[in-house]
């Protein structure tokens, strides 16, 4: 905790590219009904980055346990969880294509039947006694992360009376500065529910939706054992100009 080592110093000291909001869902998307009362209506106030935005929390291996990226084992009580065994892997890059090393990636999901281990989930699909449904990993020096899990099932939710979420895994990513903080969801190639989902359809740009759909990656699969999906994550880029020069130059 005393020696922050989250990012290469030259990359970590400059301000971020402005966020392109056209590829993100706006706050107010009436097709996703919960957004109606939870969406700010005033314009966001644009802030040039200061130290408060270009810095962010630094995590290390001390924060993680050895099974944190193995959802097949990290809650196993009596055996393996039920479901298709999968690996999810990819890289965390910035918009300039540079890897983001040592950044915390967290993920959570329903079990193979589409049920979450959560007090508030009342779907009648059963809880799996051997599946917790969450994990986390730190990216390596090339920005790579991976974890092992079972493929989550789709589940119904109260939006329209017949709304179903496509199979998905929730992701939380930090990056090297607080302005890169992101939560998103990964979907699976070929899932027919993606195009019918109100949360997916809150995204205005079809290409941006495509980038959330992980293709199957047979080359990364383990024969006779585990299928793999690949999901690369891109966080905001940083200017190459050193921050201090820009600020102090007046």
């Amino acid at each position: 905790m005393s020696s922050p080592a989250g990012a290469h110093p030259a990359q970590a000291s400059a301000e971020f590219f402005q966020r392109d909001r056209s590829i993100h869902p706006p706050a107010y998307t009436p097709g996703y009904k919960t957004s109606v009362t939870r969406s700010p209506r005033q314009a966001l106030l644009s802030l040039q980055n200061s130290l408060s935005e270009i810095t962010g929390p630094v995590f290390g291996h001390d924060d993680l346990g050895p099974l944190d990226n193995d959802l097949i084992r990290n809650y196993a009580k009596t055996g393996d969880p039920i479901g298709e065994r999968i690996i999810v892997h990819g890289r965390v890059l910035d918009e300039s294509g540079r890897p983001i090393p040592n950044t915390l990636v967290e993920f959570w999901q329903a079990n193979a039947g589409g049920r979450y281990r959560h007090k508030k989930d009342t779907y009648l699909a059963p809880i799996d006694p051997n599946f917790g449904g969450c994990g986390r990993a730190l990216t390596d020096t090339d920005g790579r992360y991976f974890f092992r899990t079972v493929k989550p099932g789709p589940y119904p939710w109260r939006n329209y009376v017949n709304s179903w979420r496509p199979a998905h895994i929730h992701f939380s990513i930090f990056g090297s500065g607080f302005a890169q903080r992101l939560i998103t969801q990964m979907y699976f190639e070929g899932d027919p529910l993606i195009k019918a989902c109100a949360i997916v359809n809150a995204i205005p740009d079809p290409d941006a939706v495509d980038r959330l759909i992980a293709p199957i990656d047979l080359n990364a699969s383990i024969p006779l054992d585990t299928l793999a999906y690949r999901f690369d994550i891109v966080l905001r880029g940083r200017r190459s100009t050193m921050f201090e020069n820009r600020l102090e130059g007046n």
């Binding site: 957004s35 644009s46 802030l47 903080r181 941006a208 980038r211």
Partner: protein
Amino acid sequence: MTDKLGYLKETTSQTAGPYVHIGLIPQQAGFDIFETNFGNVAVGPKTAGQRIRIEGRVFDGTETPVRDVLIETWQANAAGRYNHPADTQDKPLDPDFRGWARAGSDFKTGIYTIDTIKPGIVRGRRGRPMAPHINFWIAARGINIGLNTRMYFADEGEANAVDPVLNLIELDTRRKTLLAEPVTRDGIAVYRFDIRLQGENETVFFDI
């Protein structure tokens, strides 16, 4: 995937959904899975600085407390320096302070709390001092992209008056949405910071 200049596109945001607790604060979801858990206590016994508690609720557009919200805070230490390599101010780092905390609001009352220290003044752009403040990031079901705001301290009038960010906000009523009022309870300074997602006193949110 890339544009004409070869830049990649940022990954699109999606809502954290109703079960954000499972991934990020599983103990609140009702189960125990990790050896080390992130939480709402940012301080350790050796952390330098004045202990404070931040307490509040997040309200939706119908004035209803949001009871499934996730809040993260990021702040400088008591000397006004962030624990990050990009902060090269000539001030001491505090090895016992990461500067980050995460809290879920209570499922019944909607109240969140953060136990931390009061941050110092941080140098802002062009060397202008920024008043003590805590950066907030808010995610929840129904929030399509995480919301950024800042909490300032109502009892830092002098510093607030020259703060470059507060001074970007023209309307006094809007500026006030970022000011947390202090109360003392059981000997600890408690700052009350409610956030309004929508409506008459909508909190100022930033595009950072």
